[in-house]
């Protein structure tokens, strides 16, 4: 096998590392409001990193797909700066708040439109709804071998070999390509992208294709929204923190005393 064609599905979400105070719940509109910058979901970044490493080693092409009502190409252009060759946005008003099944169905249509590929990568779960379903649903819908929780991915003679996490350690598994692999964070974080490179990519003249439901052949009556019956804030987890003061040495001494008190 010479060059590999990889499709990475990446979701744009509000930064899941945002401080608690930036998150609120609108129980009426059934919306979680996060006042934080949009980012690529962390496990999807891990998937992208895995893809970039594979193409660095053996050559090939990476296509990144991102689906939403409106996807920011500024956020997703980071994938191009990291080493992806092509970015396709799947944007449509009908793509708002889809359930996992419909999200996977729309992605599957777009993937069929793209045509040939060897490897389909997704993050193990998205950092907003933490459902962990779209990857495996996609694999099933496209009739692919499915491998979840990858820690490491290599290619051997037209097959993908994955070190996947299992409760007692890891399992090395192998499947014929094309295959679906969901990626876990043990793969490693997405490589550092310099500010200059990032800016160049964001301001670049390159136009990013955007496909709507009609263009990928998704019938609107085939799409279902997430069935949210109600939404509420979690119980308050806050405690009154007692700060230990003084010079470093004194703080350490006070903390040692706290430990002795908890014995």
């Amino acid at each position: 096998m010479t060059e590999i064609r990889i499709i990475v599905c990446a979701k744009q979400i509000p930064d899941p590392e945002a401080p608690l105070s930036d998150v609120s719940v609108d129980a009426e509109k059934l919306e979680v409001i996060v006042d934080a910058p949009q980012v690529i979901s962390p496990f999807d970044e891990n998937a992208l990193e895995a893809a970039v490493r594979l193409t660095e080693n053996m050559g090939g092409k990476i296509t990144v797909l991102s689906l939403g009502k409106k996807v920011s190409d500024t956020v997703l252009r980071k994938s191009l700066a990291a080493g992806a060759d092509e970015l396709i946005l799947l944007e449509d008003d009908q793509f708002e708040k889809l359930d996992s099944h419909s999200t996977a169905a729309a992605l599957a249509k777009a993937i069929q439109k793209i045509g040939e590929y060897d490897l389909l990568l997704t993050g193990r779960q998205a950092g907003d709804w933490d459902s962990g379903q779209v990857g495996l649903l996609l694999g099933e819908m496209l009739g692919l071998p499915c491998i979840s929780l990858a820690r490491d991915i290599t290619i051997e003679d037209g097959s993908v070999v994955v070190k996947k996490g299992i409760p007692e350690g890891y399992e090395r598994v192998k499947a014929k390509m094309p295959a679906l692999v969901t990626v876990s964070n043990e793969v490693g974080e997405l490589r550092y992208i310099s500010r200059t490179k990032m800016l160049k990519m964001i301001q670049g003249a390159r136009s990013i294709p955007s496909w709507g439901a009609g263009e990928i052949g998704v019938a609107s009556d085939g799409l279902q929204k997430m069935g949210i019956a109600s939404l509420s804030s979690p119980p308050d987890m806050g405690r009154d923190c007692q700060f230990l003061e003084g010079k470093a040495e004194e703080k350490a001494e006070k903390l040692a005393a706290v430990f002795m008190g908890l014995k």
Partner: protein, 329 residues
């Protein structure tokens, strides 16, 4: 009939703890829906576990036994489970939100054209339409959502340690065998080897000393190991934990990871060193009895959930703390 089915898992020849929790969750639902709650066991030898499960009072215990179901090959298990569902016709199927459920759940939902909710912390039946109300933390735990979806069976994976385990001493359920047709040609993903790793069991720790991005480098964990060693002179089961970022950076292995996709723990003492407190981390440790945070950023999330805080570079605190602890213990 409104049968609630749970997928049982076996450990050392008995139903595991998660299975007993699922059974109590399932019984609550079946009594609301006016039906029974049954258990399904799959594997190469499940009779022992099936017999033992009878003591917990399920309506029925279904057995799917086949030599090919030895271990866990997902393609074969998925086909067997799909076939079992088409014979039993449960109105609800619950699985544990563990390795098996996370792997089979979405694929089964696709094959049965139903909709799954994962990692649920509460379940009930909507009396209006008989559908399952699935409560699940979302946005890393910043919000709690209740989902309702169409499809049969109604599908959910359930978080561990949320429901109490079912109790013994009830009328034993009837045991029934289910025949499925599986063969090796269904295997799409071939196992090359399984490698056991020496892993920490953070859920058994009394004290966890955890490090995050603020450590700045892998060597930071050596200091935390020294702190853990010093604490072992006064406490039992002191272990080292970490945030997801520390794993992503390759500083420490993922069995040390605390949080939503790591281990969820509530030790007596949790010491967070250089962990700012992303919500997906906090949900994994916020129920610790005492929380101590060391961080250079006084505004970070971790101090909001901590009982004791020190604003200082950990490199200036930990060595001095180790010294003091050695003196005092």
């Amino acid at each position: 009939m409104n049968e609630v089915l749970i997928l049982g898992e076996i450990k050392d020849g008995s139903p595991d703890l998660r299975t007993l929790e699922l059974l109590s969750a399932g019984k609550k639902l079946s009594s609301a829906a006016g039906g029974g709650c049954s258990i399904l066991f799959m594997g190469d030898a499940v009779s022992g576990a099936a017999d033992k499960a009878g003591a917990y009072g399920p309506h029925k215990v279904y057995r799917v036994e086949d030599p090919l179901l030895k271990g866990f090959q997902a393609d074969l298990w998925l086909s067997a489970l799909e076939q079992a569902c088409s014979q039993i016709h449960p109105s609800v199927l619950l699985m544990s939100h563990g390795f098996v459920g996370m792997e089979l759940g979405p694929r089964l939902a696709c094959r049965l054209n139903s909709r799954l909710s994962t990692d649920c912390i509460d379940l009930s039946i909507d009396p209006a339409d008989g559908l399952l109300l699935r409560t699940k933390p979302v946005s890393g735990g910043n919000a709690i959502s209740v989902f309702k979806c169409l499809g049969e069976p109604q599908l959910a994976t359930v978080r561990g340690k949320v429901f109490p385990p079912a109790e013994t001493g009830q009328t034993p359920g009837e045991v029934a065998d289910i025949q499925v047709k599986i063969d090796p040609s269904m295997i799409r993903v071939e196992s090359i080897e399984k490698v056991k790793e020496e892993t920490v069991s953070l859920d058994k720790a009394n004290v966890v000393v955890a490090g995050g991005a603020g450590l700045g480098e892998a060597d930071g964990f050596e200091l935390l190991e020294e702190l853990a060693a010093a604490l072992r002179k006064s406490f039992n089961n002191v272990m080292v934990g970490c945030s997801r970022v520390a794993v992503d950076k390759g500083w420490i292995s993922s069995d040390h990871q605390v949080g939503l996709t790591g281990t969820m723990i509530s030790p007596d003492i949790y010491v967070a060193v250089g962990i700012s407190g992303a919500i997906q981390h906090l949900v994994g440790m916020v129920h610790s009895k005492k929380i101590i945070a060391i961080n250079t950023d006084p505004a970070c999330n971790m101090f909001k959930v901590a009982d004791y805080g020190i604003v200082e570079d950990y490199e200036d605190i930990v060595p001095a703390l180790v010294e003091k602890l050695e003196e005092l213990s």
